[in-house]
Symmetry: C2
Subunit: 426 residues, 2 copies
């Protein structure tokens, strides 16, 4: 089976030429990447947009240092969660008032899972995929243990989700892109199937938002959460987002009822009254410096509009990942590595994963790659994972990355004891 | 009744002289405060330590921009919650492994309240003070509504807490310093009383940590939460901290079971297994830029050790607040303002609050004060609140602040329509 999208590039010069003809290359100039590095880990931590340091510095020196407490109003800190939410809404097919930035993905998932169960009081099943990202599973476990009302977390294989949907399912909780294999669920199809049995759906868009086109509105999605620090480039541990469809706003009840989710936080009333809409998902005071970086980073996506927006970014990512597969198969024949990501670009995220026949070799190989300036990551037990952020990667980057990979395989880099001991990176 | 601690300062020159003889004045040089401002709101948002911008900039440009994903290990991001927790532990009489930095005060309270109820399964009462900070009340309400097992939140007056303690109380939840009046609970006395009836205690140290001496170990305290952005100067929305006494580590179960609180986050196991000790209070990925600012800001307290540490800071705050009371009573006779903070410095936090007979006048007066460069805050319905951070305030600041207050009262600043309409500041 051949790659699905892209014209074949036969040598490095053709890659260079194609890059030069690519209007999206202008966006790469907005990122500060170190020289000598090919960064294939933007799905773990997005690269630094060049304008962000100055914005953070201003938040520190001017807004905090000089504005002090006045900056909550004067610099607009208090509205930042809603502003950043509205920016993200545009990237995921949501309305501005359906998304808010708050806390972490895990905590937002806890809020929405609790809220969704409350909307289906007669049902007792949270359905999910066995291989969902662990924090999603852990959060569901923690919630169910706490409420202790006979709910069950049912985990099933990826291909059995549709069959497992029935009228006992209160909530279907899925991550759209599998963090290991890169497989992508059809969000609209699965949402519709869940709705047919009366179940709600919570999508984890950690590896989707900013990576490719997502249309929550078209899919009539209920709830979603996602991450600020991967393809949105919001910086390490950037606050996360939560989406709630307008239809669910009025009935929404979530348990982390902190003061900033109150209808009138500064009235200091003794009883909780929820703010309207997604505002009630706020809890405590947001980490303003981290939020400033995220809000600034999102501006890159405004610029991307002029170049075709997420449709163009998705096509570029398909081209990059196609090229990686093609080159991997051409150059890394006897590698002990197997492609585990779908070959059809519409069925994968912006990611390629290779499983290692020998996990220890695979681990060492990734350390050697990182040392050689090709930064991907290793996911236990046996996966070399590469993310392809179309905002800042080029075809030549991909070409060179696979050349390096091939060279390290050729020289059996895993035999070098330097690569066998390093601590795993997130 | 006269102030309790300090020699009387009869004029501005005596204040200047006393300031010059005060070894703590060297610490003030570590803060970047704008000229023309007397900042009496460090209890809402602490001032910016001068070395923090550079540290944040390094985290952005070098650690994020150049180090990228590698910085989780190479720059030590992954251990920052424990490192910052250990720094805070020294300020509150805790052991290094009893404190961790995570999420917000509200979310940490939710975790610990849930954990504490699980440790007292046969009891059904959370006891608190009617006037506790609203987010604490809201969080308890949200938790009890969610678990729905017949618990009650019992709220009582500040002076009736000890009487309300009985063998139905699972948890006593109190904020040590009242955010409106500045009254301070005797932490050790109340903890002992709660323990006598078998109740656990959760202390909210939002206005205590970094403000005066707190000794959780001596008091044999169970749990505490607190804020990174007030007297700890961690920056707007800095992450918060949580304390769990070692005795409770093994049995601790909290519901926000995110991956970073797992015993082996990077093993990606399908089932949650808690990390040891306070590590299990971690949930999602921490906001590294905000956490960097907090961690750096805490270094100021290391320097303060050479000048007598928190004991000296507490004495200085007593001196500043005594002086404020004395000058207020000397200069602001017919003000329509009443002192509602205890005159005994050992019974208050580093705070003075004045209640306005006419709330609208009081509100306008605070806006006029802020405009005149004396920054306090207004707390609904009728309180002018002033915080006295001993790290960066001087006696002359206090003298001048009250002079300004007196002038604005004298000229009936509240009649100026400019001050009657501005939005309330946090």
């Amino acid at each position: 089976m051949t790659p699905t999208h892209s014209p074949r590039l036969l040598d490095r010069a053709q890659c260079l030429e194609a890059d030069q003809g690519d209007p999206l290359r202008e966006l790469a100039a907005r990122f500060a990447l170190p020289s000598g590095v090919i960064y294939l880990d933007g799905n773990s931590l997005g690269a630094l947009p060049r304008h962000v340091p100055e914005r953070v510095e201003r938040a520190v020196r001017e807004q905090w240092g000089t504005g002090l407490i006045r900056s909550w109003n004067d610099a607009g800190w208090i509205d930042a969660p809603r502003r950043a939410g509205a920016s993200i809404a545009r990237l995921i097919g949501a309305r501005a008032d359906e998304v808010i930035v708050a806390d972490s993905t895990s905590i937002n998932l806890y809020k929405l899972l609790s809220a969704a169960l409350a909307l289906r009081p007669d049902r007792r099943v949270i359905l999910t995929e066995s291989g969902n990202f662990p924090t999603d599973l852990y959060i569901a476990q923690g919630l169910l243990e706490q409420i202790d009302r006979g709910h069950r977390l049912v985990r099933t294989g990826r291909d059995r989700i549709l069959k497992a949907l029935d009228d006992q399912v209160a909530v279907l909780m899925l991550t759209q892109v599998d963090y290991r294999t890169g497989e992508r669920f059809d969000l609209a199809e699965i949402t519709a199937a869940a709705h047919r049995v009366g179940a709600l759906v919570i999508w984890d868009l950690a590896h989707s938002a900013g990576a490719f086109q997502v249309d929550l509105g078209l899919a009539q999605a209920d709830f979603a959460v996602g991450c600020g620090y991967k393809y949105l480039n919001g910086g390490p541990g950037a606050p996360a987002f939560a989406f709630v469809a307008r239809d669910h706003h009025d009935g929404l009840r979530q348990p982390l009822t902190g003061w900033l989710g109150h209808a009138a936080p500064f009235a200091f009333e003794p009883d909780y009254q929820p703010a309207s809409g997604v505002g009630r998902l706020l809890c405590g005071t947001p980490p303003v410096l981290s939020l400033t970086a995220l809000e600034a980073a999102l501006e890159v996506f405004d610029d991307a509009e002029a170049f075709g927006g997420l449709a163009a970014l998705e096509a570029k990512a398909a081209c990059l990942t196609d090229l990686f597969i093609e080159r991997f198969e051409a150059c890394c024949g006897e590698s002990g590595l197997r492609l585990i990501t779908p070959r059809d670009a519409s069925k994968r995220g912006n990611q390629i994963s290779l499983a290692a026949d020998d996990p220890a070799q695979g681990y060492a190989l990734m350390q050697a790659l990182i040392d050689a300036g090709v930064i991907g990551d290793f996911r236990a037990p046996d996966i070399l994972r590469f993310g392809f952020a179309p905002l800042y990667l080029s075809r030549v980057d991909v070409w060179d990355a696979v050349e390096t990979l091939a060279r390290l395989i050729e020289t059996r880099a895993w035999d070098d004891p330097r690569w066998q001991r390093r601590k795993a990176v997130t």
